[in-house]
Symmetry: C2
Subunit: 406 residues, 2 copies
Amino acid sequence: MAVGLRPPQDLLPVPGVTLAACSAGIYRKPRPDLCLMAFAPGSRAAAVFTRNAFCAAPVQVARSHIAGASPRYGLINAGNANAGTGQRGIDDAVAVCRAAASLGGCLETEVLPFSTGVIGEFLPVDSIRKALPALHGRLSASGWIECAQAIMTTDTIAKGVSRRVEIQGRPVTVTGIAKGAGMIHPRMATLLAFIATDATLDKAVLHELLGDAVRGSFNRISVDGDTSTNDAVLLVATGKSGVPAGAAGSTPDVQAVQAAVSAVCVELAQAVIRDAEGATKFISIRVEQGASEAECVRVAEAIAGSLLVKTAFYASDPNWGRILAAVGRAGVEGLDTSKVGIDLADVRIVEHGARAAAYTERAGKEIMSHAEIPLRIRLGRGSYAATIWTCDLSHDYVKINAEYRS
Amino acid sequence: MAVGLRPPQDLLPVPGVTLAACSAGIYRKPRPDLCLMAFAPGSRAAAVFTRNAFCAAPVQVARSHIAGASPRYGLINAGNANAGTGQRGIDDAVAVCRAAASLGGCLETEVLPFSTGVIGEFLPVDSIRKALPALHGRLSASGWIECAQAIMTTDTIAKGVSRRVEIQGRPVTVTGIAKGAGMIHPRMATLLAFIATDATLDKAVLHELLGDAVRGSFNRISVDGDTSTNDAVLLVATGKSGVPAGAAGSTPDVQAVQAAVSAVCVELAQAVIRDAEGATKFISIRVEQGASEAECVRVAEAIAGSLLVKTAFYASDPNWGRILAAVGRAGVEGLDTSKVGIDLADVRIVEHGARAAAYTERAGKEIMSHAEIPLRIRLGRGSYAATIWTCDLSHDYVKINAEYRS
């Protein structure tokens, strides 16, 4: 049911990165559910993690590991979130890092663990340990697609994106994979994303670059308003392109890498929405003429978070009153409702806070029948704008989430 | 499908209040959709309205009318919200007030208009005007139940509650009716409630009493996180009981009336949740041991607002990880997750922030299969508590809201 999304055809290898996936039996039915990524010595990394107070054991361990060392491995499992598992969860996350480290000949703090899946069950450490040697033996530069598949949970399509830019006459590659389909909301989601580049970037630049890219991508999507215990986005720069660019500062070279990383993150984030649980519509909500970017985001989030708006989109019903009501409850101080306008694609629905004179239900219905719908809100207060991507709320969302553990 | 809710059998008349309902043809199919309430001269009234910036025309008119005069009539229609209708909406709301006023021999500012239904369509003023004379002729002290039926929209069961208390040896009555099934969230909802008592209360006391009652009832329920353009709760005191009690101050007599009004509001608010769109479960979320009441409410709202929690309840799946994740994203500053506990009825699920040692999935499943489920969260931070009532999210919620206008 994914909206306008196809599986990645080929993902560009990133010099300095090898990876592989296998079935470790974490899911009851056999499917790839374990993934190992290896980064060449000298790689640098930055990561952002969920802000949920109940962050999962692997998040706590990965956060601590990355603070002290540059990672040599990422170890990712689907099917079990290792969250709500207390001290044993921490011990388990460290144990699987240790197993990977002993195979790779590095410190356990040079391995970053990531988990996604059901909350509250203990990690099957033995199964993971048993699967690791063969997995380590299969590490390959071309393993991106199998890893994109192995990290899926309720995703129906694997998500991967590559970009190549030329810097100082040489190619620099950015490739990323992501998973996530529910529990998705700005400020991170049940979402994991792993992005690598062979650019040379120092750690401070890498952090800034990731922060910027995430702000305009993974933090601008909403499926259901929930945020998860396990979200993480990892960006690794191996430096293997041989281009010495971008050690620090905002040079044109760094900007070129920045643009490529941002483009990869936006496309992955949109892919998450296109493949969101039960989604039949891909909706971009652009709020314009705000007095600040923050209030534009707030209005966009109120609309994206409205079940009534989302069910109306599902039904292809141009019930714009629900959009108006969502704008009205977004808490914009001193909003002059008589200045608010709403367009669905090129159809003006609301102007001066009420139904536009020329609007016809027929025109609204026509637009609502499309699979991809751009919604624009004008607040009439200033010159700021923000965009959030979201989806509709369908029968299948309820079905998928009611039956998740059965 | 309403959970543990029956239609009101008999509602006690309130001396000084007469009312009646009829079909004015606002809905396409014939059904009662217009309701007139008359209040004896000398009645006093207080009201609370939606905080949505896009408040409907009748809300704007009613707010202005009640500020300047004591109401003699309330005129309520279902089937059309008269919201998002600009200046014409205001004119229309005033026009129907004027029509009622000319029948009743009062000022148009002594009539309060209320509307509920589809947003963005103009009020059928002529149909309402045409229906009013006969409706006015049928005003009766026993019209409560027919009015409870006439104000319903997606409600499946009419909602009405009466309480009688004795003050100074004489009976004092409180009767209220309400409608609302979706677009329900704290800070008011697509909810209308009309409560009357024959107690004698001055306007300041009445305001305070209504504020208190609403805080613990209509502002403690959530169906879907949306708030509407039309919400209003009206409390009228006719003074016809002959008990001179409670002119001002917190006397025992006023407290007795307060308790009765609060009880009526709580029962009506719970009825809204029991009959919420698609609801199959009635869930009370009590958050205890908070450092403030506000943070308890915030945590309860985060849980009540989680689609994942709500679909798990629908599926009778004790997926407590989702509850934990909702607690974690509620934004409680400095939450020590190792102190958090969760009980479902008398089953301890989480203690010290992780699965309770004695918990079994079977015990959780058994509790989840009930239609009424008390959920308790302990934050381990203080002595404050708050309760919110909510429902599950079912296939029918999506169905009802996808097909609302078709």
